[in-house]
């Protein structure tokens, strides 16, 4: 019976539930995107960029969002991190863990037959780097601690570099050139994938103590960009961070009133940016959705009141046939909640569509969360019930004699 009434006035019905549709669309789209980001961050981002359970010591922050001239000048005055700093820490750290050094620069890598690849992330790193980043080899092997300490000219390349320079031939044992120096390929990295659309396979990793020393740091030898400390358990991250901070403050002879002249980052810290966005979204979202739904409820209530007036005679007929007040009440309540529920379903479809559209056009990932769909349907039906109560009550209270006389 309710569906018949809705089918009769399709266009009016659509406009009636527009509020619900809009509110639910927003709800679903935003939550789908947030959940997508959360999943991505947990599973991909953290591990890929920072490695799990790591604390990274740097001279300057890795992600800069709002820095002014003053901050840049302060950073420029900071002392550089050196190989010796790493040795200092390794000798003194009580929190268990592994230390790795790395410096990255962007440059050109030359291969056989005059081929070259641009924009390669040329990385000078210690042997422990592969372990800290959980990097596996697809072919060959990583270099050992001995080879790294002696600065041998060996290199591990990423898949993109391998396929561009060697085109399907086995690169192991072949020679490539970085900054003019020859390096022997001993391993190819397993496919790393993309991060926000950027390929992580366009890399070349060689011992930091090789000829890369100085090249990757703009001419300065013995200097390192990142000292990374990996702890065996996430519970130890806080302790490790605190300990590194105190050792480095001692090493840099800082007085208690002076701020740190280095940065310590964990995966969780540097995601503060995402956290900020996320919090704003989660705050704004209920507001937006709430407003749409309230507007929607008011619209539904008014349209239902009009409907009750139009159908006064019909209500009189039903009552004369034996409909009780509760029969009429339930009939109209069911109509308004079905209408609103259908609006929510439409909103879910639109919301998911919108989220996937955004995913296709930008690096933002999407993940439809079941709980949000359930919430959307519940909200839709709820709005229908709440807004339909008054009109349904009015309908139920009609005097059958008076109603039968209507138009």
């Amino acid at each position: 019976m309710a569906l018949e009434a809705i089918r009769a006035h399709k266009l009016r019905g659509f406009f009636t539930v527009l509020g619900t549709v809009v509110g639910v669309t927003f709800l679903i789209a935003v939550i789908t995107l947030i959940e997508g980001m959360d999943h991505y961050v947990e599973k991909q981002f953290k591990g890929t960029v920072y490695g799990f359970n790591t604390v990274t010591l740097r001279r300057r922050p890795s992600v800069v969002t709002d820095a002014d001239e003053g901050m840049w000048r302060t950073w420029a005055r900071r002392p550089r991190l050196t190989f010796d700093d790493a040795g200092y820490l390794e000798g003194r750290m009580e929190t268990p863990g592994t230390v790795a050094l790395s410096t990255v620069t962007i440059g050109k890598v030359g291969g056989p037959r005059g081929k070259a690849v641009e924009n390669v992330w040329i990385t000078g790193a210690t042997a422990s780097y592969f372990q800290i980043r959980d990097m596996q080899m697809e072919d060959g092997r990583a270099y050992s601690r001995n080879e790294a300490d002696r600065g041998l000219p060996v290199v591990v390349i990423g898949r993109d570099v391998a396929s561009t320079l060697f085109e399907g031939r086995n690169p192991i044992g072949q020679e490539i050139r970085m900054n003019g120096f020859p390096y022997r390929v001993i391993g190819v990295l397993e496919k790393q994938g993309k991060l926000f659309g950027m390929s992580l396979d366009n890399v070349a990793i060689a011992p930091i103590r090789s000829e890369l020393d100085g090249y990757v740091n703009g001419g300065r030898k013995g200097v390192v960009q990142e000292i990374t400390f990996k702890v065996p358990d996430s519970k130890l991250i806080g302790a490790a961070k605190a300990e590194i901070e105190s050792w480095m403050r001692i090493r840099h002879h800082l007085r208690p009133d002076q701020a740190d002249d280095f940065e310590l980052e964990t995966a969780d810290d540097s995601l503060g940016f995402w956290d900020k966005i996320r919090n704003v979204l989660l705050l704004a979202l209920p507001l937006l959705v709430g407003i749409s739904l309230v507007v929607g409820a008011v619209v539904i209530m008014n349209i239902m009141l009009v409907s009750v007036t139009e159908r006064t005679r019909e209500i009189g007929i039903r009552k004369s046939m034996g409909a009780r007040r509760s029969d009429v009440l339930l009939q109209f309540l069911f109509e308004s909640s079905t209408l609103s529920g259908l609006g929510a379903v439409l909103g879910i479809g639109l919301g998911v569509g919108l989220a996937y559209l955004i995913t296709a056009l930008s690096p933002m990932p999407a993940h439809v969360a079941t709980w949000s769909v359930v919430l959307a349907v519940a909200l839709g039906v709820g709005v229908g019930v709440v807004s339909g109560v008054y009109p349904a009550w009015r309908a139920a209270r009609l005097d059958p004699i008076v109603a039968l006389r209507a138009e």
Binding site: E4, A5, G316, I317, M321, G322, A323, R324, R325, D327
Partner: protein
């Protein structure tokens, strides 16, 4: 005085009164009506406007409650009932037939006839079967899926009559059932009522037309809120047939 089938009274009205408040004034639409109607009677209720006949019909039909007096319908003491109880009585005991048909415009004939059964709690298959039987009884078995706007006036009234019959009520209560029909169709409908009466139905028909009232066994006339006269009409009785004109 009542005539007719005898036995226990189906309708027993005593001292029925209905007053309305119109602003500061009290309008006494019914001022004490006593009436007894037995099963299988065919009663016409007449009276000029303002006589209280519509009010009386509403009370008989349990659409309203009296201000004073008693009304016992098939053993039910209706006068003191609340809304829900009245609804149940309407559903089980009364079959309404209105002047303006009052069918649900968006429903088919079958769905319209099913309506009282829906409120009476009769389930799907049973409901459909009974509705079909009722429609067949009024000779509309071939139009069950039509909507009211696809039916003629006479057919619509037949659907309404089928709807009135479907719950096997104690009384058929008809309010000017031929008021919106032409004379030929009116006759068909009145013949249908006669057939239903012969088959055992109790019919109460409210009308202001003597021609229509002439079909009944008994005519009760109201004036100024009271019964003015209550006369049997001798049976058998045939209404003077309208001459069938060629091409009419």
């Amino acid at each position: 005085m009542s005539s007719g089938a005898g036995g226990a009274a189906l309708i027993d009205v005593r001292g029925l009164e209905k007053h309305y408040q119109m602003g500061a004034e009290t309008v006494r639409a019914l001022r004490g009506v006593d009436l007894v109607i037995h099963r299988n009677e065919y009663v016409a209720i007449m009276g000029p406007s303002g006589s209280g006949k519509s009010t009386f019909m509403n009370l008989i039909g349990c659409l309203d409650s009296p201000t004073a007096g008693e009304y016992i319908l098939n053993g039910n003491h209706v006068a003191g009932m609340d809304d829900d109880e009245l609804a149940r009585v309407r559903n089980q005991e009364i079959g309404f037939v209105f002047q303006t048909f009052n069918l649900l415009p968006r429903s088919t004939a079958l769905e319209n006839v099913e309506l009282p059964l829906v409120y009476g709690g009769v389930g799907g298959k049973d409901r459909k079967r009974r509705a079909l039987e009722a429609l067949q009884a009024v000779e509309l078995g071939d139009r069950v899926d039509h909507r009211p706007n696809e039916l003629s006036g006479g057919q619509r009234q037949r659907v309404a009559i089928a709807r009135a019959l479907v719950t096997r009520p104690s009384i058929i209560l008809a309010d000017e059932p031929t008021g919106n029909l032409d004379s030929r169709t009116s006759e068909e409908i009145m013949n249908l009522f006669e057939r239903l009466h012969r088959e055992g139905q109790t019919i109460i028909m409210v009308t202001h037309e003597p021609d229509i009232a002439a079909h009944a066994d008994r005519v009760v006339t109201l004036r100024d809120g009271k019964i003015e006269s209550d006369q049997p009409q001798p049976r058998p009785r045939r209404v003077v047939e309208a001459p069938v004109l060629a091409g009419a």
